[in-house]
Symmetry: C2
Subunit: 112 residues, 2 copies
């Protein structure tokens, strides 16, 4: 449970940044080097390397050294658990509304 | 786009903590005060107030002062955009596998 928690923490944390989300979208089309990834952003190679490391620790990216550059591609993490957690929350949320509906129906009944 | 980005940042950031995820699960069953929420955790009221504020800023929780305590309940944020983003990523991820499949089929054809 604690391990699972730590994994979800790393995943949600990795997704909580627009540059990292765009890097994932970019790698979803084709692998790329750190320089390729840095190019569209006003960001240093060091800055991009840090973002990629966060994604790598969350399992969302894998990297390998190819000659003098580092090639990045999507990792093994499919985000199934993050999706499952959000679905769980949405069920709770809907149920909360069901509860409110029931409450207002009840009040309506009382007030009539 | 920037506003939307900032919203997703706040949401994923808020979800990147096991205490905050448990607070949401708890509030999905019924509203609760800060003290109710702090009780199952080894956490101070100040610590819990900080967690609740992060959830509130992400729209996941709303709070109101009732007498001397602060009552918390689920907010208006349904996580639809977070869900949409994860679905988008999963489609990219599947397509990446399609790409790999195509690549291996191609290689198999060449090697035979």
């Amino acid at each position: 449970m604690v391990q699972q928690d730590a994994r979800l923490d790393r995943i949600f944390s990795a997704l909580a940044d627009p540059t990292r989300r765009q890097v994932l979208a970019r790698l979803g089309t084709a692998p790329a080097t750190i320089s390729d990834l840095a190019e569209p952003f006003a960001i240093s190679l060091t800055g991009m390397t840090k973002h990629v490391r966060v994604l790598e620790e969350a399992g969302l990216v894998v990297t390998e050294k190819v000659g003098r550059s580092r090639r990045c591609r999507l990792g093994t993490e499919r985000l199934d658990d993050a999706m499952a957690w959000i679905s769980f929350y949405q069920r709770l949320w809907e149920r909360r509304l069901d509860g409110l509906d029931a409450y207002f129906t009840l009040r309506k009944g009382i007030e009539q």
